[in-house]
């Protein structure tokens, strides 16, 4: 395993200071993919993305091509682009929205053409004030260039794109929560079935929801061919992926790496990526795929960055964020803070999630702040088990959306990796790291 020399697919423009402008976009191959796509049939465009076997980059990793093919045939269909990135420690979409919005727009129109969408909504997280402005500017510019609107580039295909601002709710990152929010309601995830918005989505019409990074890959895939994309990576995880690296590393940042060929060790330690642990510390553990994913200890460093590989090892690549914790990290505090996040963001529809998250947060708080009891460790696992029975991976679903079952993994991981730390907190009546 090593750092591989592969083309940068979604971050090619980001070295330029003015990467977000239309001028830079057009000077660096902008709209090439879209123009090519419009000369092909919609089916051929979809086939190319199928050949690339592009996995959705939002978190669930569902093949984008398959999602499109499930779209029920109807006179009105929608494409919704999910830019509501709020998973803790994930900041790749933020980077793409702020630094290369034109690429997202181009990919979006390619996707809209492939699925023959009637209208497109780009849902951008409300807290990205600058990102919203740049995304809107990119859309306006595309209208001026004839890349959106009536008869795009003279192809006869017309589509309208609306940039929609969110208003601050993690739950709206969930596909159906996002659709409810887009309909002007509270972001309550919808009861399944129907399982997929492709059957019943926005306003009850067939809808495809794709992540912004997924869209960003499309211009390159169409320009260079699905086969070229599939040649990168290995197995089911093809192409490159943008990973957001944060925590106790020398150089936190978002890095585009080849999937599977690169390992967690490369990402964290390679000088061109993370550059190793800050201050010469030692790695205690890392969170491989967002707050919902089970943690890994140093023994899993050589695991490749591949969806199936990480899945088989008992966690997930999820949202593409890696949080590195050195030996000075207090696991109780980290588990408490992540649980507090879920408690705050639970939409409140389902009891296990709404009640469980609050109970767990309070128990972890009292352990961290010196009032823990020995029984608390069993109590923690008992409550976790009530939220997601069995505490196995992938977690059993007991709630409408995956937020509930996402609560136990961090607690379970912290306890499994370092139960002693919890006991020390309880015995010494406080946090030894404080």
């Amino acid at each position: 395993m090593a750092v591989t020399d592969v083309p940068r697919i979604v971050t090619a423009r980001l070295d330029h200071e003015d990467s977000y402008t239309l001028e830079r976009f057009l000077a660096t191959g902008g709209h090439e993919g879209l123009r090519k796509a419009l000369t092909m049939t919609p089916e051929a465009v979809a086939a190319e993305v199928d050949a690339a076997s592009l996995l959705g980059r939002g978190g669930a990793g569902f093949p984008a091509g398959r999602k499109w093919s499930m779209l029920r045939k109807a006179p009105v269909t929608y494409l919704v682009v999910n830019g509501d990135e709020s998973e803790p420690a994930t900041f790749k979409d933020h980077l793409l929205i702020e630094r290369d919005p034109n690429q997202i727009v181009e990919g979006t129109i390619i996707a809209a053409y492939a699925v023959q969408a009637s209208q497109v909504f780009i849902y951008v997280r409300g807290e990205f004030a600058l990102g919203l402005e740049r995304m809107q500017q990119a859309v306006n510019d595309a209208y001026d260039r004839g890349a959106i609107g009536n008869d795009i580039f003279g192809s006869g295909f017309s589509v309208d794109v609306v940039v929609h601002p969110g208003a601050g709710a993690y739950i709206c990152g969930d596909e159906t929560g996002l659709l409810e929010s887009l309909e002007g309601k509270r972001g309550f995830p919808r009861i399944k079935p129907p399982y997929f918005p492709a059957v019943m989505g926005l306003y009850g019409q067939p809808t495809v929801v794709n992540n912004v990074e997924t869209m960003s890959n499309l211009p390159w895939i169409i320009t260079n061919g699905g086969a070229a994309f599939a040649a990168l990576g290995a197995g089911r995880s093809t192409g490159t992926r943008l990973f957001a690296l944060s925590g106790h590393v020398r150089k936190p940042g978002a890095f585009e790496v080849e999937m599977v060929k690169t390992t967690f060790r490369d990402l964290i330690y390679a000088p061109i990526y993370g550059g190793g642990i800050r201050g010469g510390g030692e790695l205690k553990a890392f969170i491989p795929g967002g707050a919902s994913s089970p943690w890994f200890g140093p023994d899993k460093l050589d695991l490749p960055l591949g969806q199936d590989e990480v899945g088989e090892a008992g966690s997930m690549l999820g949202s593409g964020s890696v949080v590195v914790m050195d030996q000075s990290t207090c696991f109780v505090r980290v588990a408490w803070r992540i649980t507090k996040f879920f408690a705050r963001e639970s939409c409140g529809q389902c009891t296990p999630c709404r009640e469980g998250s609050g109970w767990l947060e309070r128990i972890l708080y009292r352990i961290e702040h010196g009032s823990g009891r020995v029984d608390d460790l069993d109590l923690l696992l008992d409550v976790c088990d009530n939220i997601s029975p069995g505490l196995h991976w992938p977690p059993q679903q007991t709630t409408i959306c995956p937020l509930g079952p996402s609560i136990p993994p961090s607690i379970n991981s912290a306890l499994t990796l370092c139960r002693d730390e919890f006991l020390v907190h309880i015995k010494e009546g406080g946090c030894p790291h404080a």
Binding site: V76, S86, E87, P88, A89, T90, F91, D93, H94, Q119, G126, E127, A129, L130, L132, E133, Q136, V139, N140, Y143, I148, G149, S158, D160, V161, V162, H164, P165, G166, A167, G168, A169, Y170, S181, L182, E183, G184, K185, R186, G187, Y203, A244, L245, S246, G247, H248, P252, G253, A254, A291, S321, V323, M325, T329, V334, R337, I338, F341, R344, C347
Partner: protein, 207 residues
Amino acid sequence: MSYFTPEMRTRAQQLVGLYPKARSALIPLCHLAQEMDGWLRPEAMEEIAELVGVTPAEVRGTATFYDMLDTEPAATYRVSVCTNVACLLDGALELLAHAEERLGVPVGGSTHDGKFHLEESECLADCDFAPCVQVNHRFVRTQTPAAFDELVDDLAAGKRAATIPPHGTLVRVGRNRGLVVDPEQVASERAAMVEAQAARAPSQDAH
């Protein structure tokens, strides 16, 4: 008599026109009203309700779900300090404690002059510049107590107005002027919705 100014009213109607169903414009309109007043006044919510064809209670019920929408008067500068996992590892709790001390308010409080409101926020997706701070949802990237103090001094002196405008995200770049839905269609949809609501509501005579 419209509560919105004529320009705002026109802009609001344009926003409604962008969506196949008027209610979708509810959240953008809340942002717009908040840009005008700094928070969502009851009068604004009533007008939004009328514009999108729902009741004012439904507007409030939706707005209170979202962190960014204020149904109570808000301070000029909303200072958000993230303490989620990546920021936590980089001293966010310490920075938040410093912010409380510097501004003289606890988390969730506002200063007496109505200038600053301090909040502890969830991940703001800027973790390579942890701990992450936003003012009115603009990333300011002040990672140390000293940088934070400088930021507060600047804001108090009105020095950052160019990069940190007042509330609102839709102020600077106009919405697109794409394939706007026919106003007649919007009007007919709204009429249908009002009818449906009237049919649902218990009749006055029943009591």
